[in-house]
């Protein structure tokens, strides 16, 4: 048995044979020519529900700290709901439980050496590890600087601390976890609600993005017009203005 996927004429016609290992001698998968299915291949479905049956990766305290930060990065205001209400912490927990949290795609072989800025991040850590070490260091640094927990600071004090983190005044670890949190909160706020954030497509409504649509042939003929398109999620559900809940 050979383990590459092999396609001759007949298998290709089958369309859905990927993943079937053919025998060495014969190409032919059948009449698959037409018996083929066009079900989406199983790995074509989005991975939205990593196993959360166990405890989520971030502890209650860690998630609380992340939530407090997220709500300063994307705060509730007259424009839209805040990041926590939009589900961004839940989004992050799911991401950390999945391939991304484990740096599944990252090149992780050593040796690990510091490089030039142009050579980019050379850390051996996964996003899960960056959160764990970064949040711990952040809690310590906050406590050291203010003698309080981050959540007990006023909004202005929180913003001051975050600006200092962002600028690197608290060291590389904090600078790095800040960047990661900023990246993830934006992802959670703007990714399809399928992934746990962007509740009621609040992020899309904020900027006016119509979401998971696939045909603007009628709209391109109205350049510059206010199209009034309600956002639609990948699950096909629409945002009903003013109505809470209900987004997929």
């Amino acid at each position: 048995m050979q383990n590459f996927t092999k396609f001759g004429r007949r298998e290709m016609l089958a369309g859905g044979t990927l993943g079937l290992a053919a025998t060495a001698a014969s190409a032919a998968l059948i009449n698959g020519e037409s018996a083929s299915t066009t079900q989406l291949s199983s790995d074509a479905l989005p991975d939205t529900t990593p196993d959360l049956t166990g405890a989520p990766y971030l502890s209650h305290a860690e998630a609380g700290l992340v939530g407090a930060v997220f709500d300063r990065l994307i705060p509730q205001d007259d424009l839209s709901i805040g990041a926590v209400e939009a589900g961004c912490v839940d989004f992050l927990q799911r991401q950390l439980a999945g391939d991304w949290g484990h740096a599944a795609t990252r090149y992780r072989a050593g040796p690990f050496r510091p490089g030039t800025p142009e050579q980019g991040d050379q850390s051996p850590l996964t996003p899960r590890e960056r959160y764990r070490t970064g949040l711990k260091a952040m809690a310590l640094a906050v406590s050291k600087a203010t003698a309080k927990a981050f959540g007990d600071l006023s909004a202005d004090e929180q913003d001051d601390f975050l600006r200092a983190m962002e600028a690197g005044h608290h060291g590389d670890t904090l600078k790095s976890v800040f960047a990661l949190m900023l990246q993830n909160v934006r992802e959670g706020y703007f990714a399809d609600p399928l992934y746990g954030g962007n509740k009621d497509m609040a992020g899309w409504a904020l900027v006016g993005f119509p979401g998971a649509r696939y045909d603007y042939r009628q709209e391109i003929d109205r350049p510059g017009a206010d199209l009034g398109l309600a956002p639609v999620s990948l699950m096909g559900r629409t945002r009903v203005p003013g109505q809470a809940g209900g987004a997929a």
């Binding site: 032919a28 020519e33 083929s36 066009t38 939205t48 649509r213 045909d215 699950m235």
Partner: protein, 441 residues
């Protein structure tokens, strides 16, 4: 979207043996239904393997017969089985029927048969050993002419013997009693040869012969009674089997071929698509294996014959649902966000790739099974020499709820020149279950 011959559906007829038990008594009548004396024109003395090589001209003609009758589709194992060596599993409510090896192999094929044996099996469902289940469409093939049978025999003889042994067909009791088929034949088998209709020209008769005898279109396109036999007064008016609806082929304006020209039909059978429809599902198989390889004159004859059929139904179109209907509005949103990228905002489709939904009789079919099937499971368009593209409809089962599918299809059935009964969420739910489609998240 259209459905056509599929082995899977022939099996429905297997239901028949059930009643066979009741009928065994009617011996004399049974004899008539199972009378195969018409096959006596074939030689019954010399086994295939002892015969001299067949005449090449006859082999060539026989190959065309085999293509028109689509023999290899069922007599070839999926996943790379040798052609005609059997092993296609026909799933039936009574168990799985395996098609047989019909290559000239002596041990496992039909190398020991005589021509008479062959005629009797093809035209009367009787092999030297037993009755065939009517999954084998001898109910249609009974009309095949002697000349075509001789040529088909020559072609089968010319094949390379393959020693493959298909799995045994092993239906549970009482369906394992093949003798019961003789009783089914009594009730439902119209044991009569093809009759030329002198009131029509040769092309029309050729068309009817191809439609009824070789291509056995009625197997799918004629609806069946509860025992799996044709409802003859619904001839080619559409049938539903195995999760697909094969549409009305008569001249019905609402659901049939009234708006198709003969050239439309020829293009469809030759390339797999035309300005109205893209063959998918079982009809894609029929086009790929059979009709695209048929001579243009034969396709023209079929087209002429089908276009001569009077409307089965003169039902007027119902009034289309109002666009303001809440279900229509929900459907419109789904359509515009998920369907229009291929079917276009006005339902024009993409030529040869995505079905033209506007003013399409198949979209208005009384039975929306094929529409639901395509949305839930996706559908693969036919890939032919003339159009190798084979565009596919993706499956939306994972992301559209029963209500959303129903609303989208109701919208499609009631816009752009269509008007038809709404599709219900229950219909979608039921097909989702029987097709084992993905649940919506």
């Amino acid at each position: 979207m259209s459905a056509g011959k599929s082995k899977a559906r022939r099996i429905a007829r297997v239901a028949l043996p059930v009643i066979g038990a009741a009928v065994v008594l009617a011996g004399v009548l049974t004899w008539r239904a199972n009378d195969a004396s018409a096959d006596d024109v074939a030689d019954g003395t010399t086994a295939m393997q002892a015969l001299p090589a067949p005449d090449p001209a006859s082999v060539a003609r026989g190959r065309a017969v085999a293509i028109a009758a689509d023999c290899s589709a069922c007599h070839t194992r999926p996943g790379g089985g040798a052609a005609f060596a059997g092993g296609y599993p026909l799933e039936t409510p009574f168990g799985t029927i395996m098609s047989s090896n019909i290559t000239p192999d002596r041990a496992n094929g039909i190398g020991n048969w005589t021509e008479h044996d062959f005629f009797k099996a093809v035209r009367h469902g009787q092999s030297p050993d037993h009755f065939l289940y009517p999954a084998m469409p001898y109910t249609a093939y009974v009309q095949i002419s002697d000349e075509d049978m001789h040529d088909l025999w020559a072609y089968i003889r010319s094949l390379k013997p393959v020693s493959a042994v298909p799995e045994r067909t092993d239906l549970p009791f009482p369906f394992n009693l093949r003798i019961l088929v003789s009783g089914w034949n009594l009730l439902f088998f119209d044991n009569a040869p093809f009759q030329t209709d002198a009131s029509h020209d040769a092309a029309w008769n050729r068309g009817r012969y191809l439609t009824d005898a070789l291509a056995h279109c009625g197997t799918c396109h004629t609806s069946k009674n509860f025992l799996g036999a044709d409802r003859s007064h619904h001839y080619l008016a559409g049938g539903t089997l195995s999760g697909w609806h094969a549409p009305d082929l008569t001249g019905s304006a609402q659901t049939g071929l009234a708006s198709w020209s003969e050239q439309d039909l020829i293009s469809y059978l030759q390339t797999g698509s035309n300005d109205h429809a893209v063959a998918a599902g079982p009809m894609a198989e029929a086009v790929e294996h059979s009709t695209q390889k048929m001579p243009a004159a034969d396709l023209g004859a079929i087209a002429g014959y089908l276009k001569s059929l009077p409307a089965h139904s003169d039902n007027a179109a119902p009034k289309a649902l109002a666009a303001s209907d809440p279900v229509m509005q929900q459907g419109a949103l789904t359509y515009h966000t998920q369907c229009s990228a291929c079917h276009t905002p006005k339902g024009q489709g993409i030529a040869g790739m995505a079905t033209h939904l506007a003013d399409n009789a198949a979209v208005r079919a009384e039975d929306p099974t094929s529409l639901i099937h395509a949305v839930l499971m996706g559908a693969k368009a036919a890939r032919t020499d003339a159009n190798p593209t084979g565009a596919g409809m993706p499956s939306f089962g994972w992301r559209l709820s029963d209500e959303e599918v129903a609303a989208a299809l109701t919208h499609v059935r009631n816009t752009n020149g269509n008007a038809a009964a709404p599709v219900t969420a229950n219909q979608v739910a039921s097909l989702r279950k029987s097709l084992d489609a993905r649940e919506a998240r």
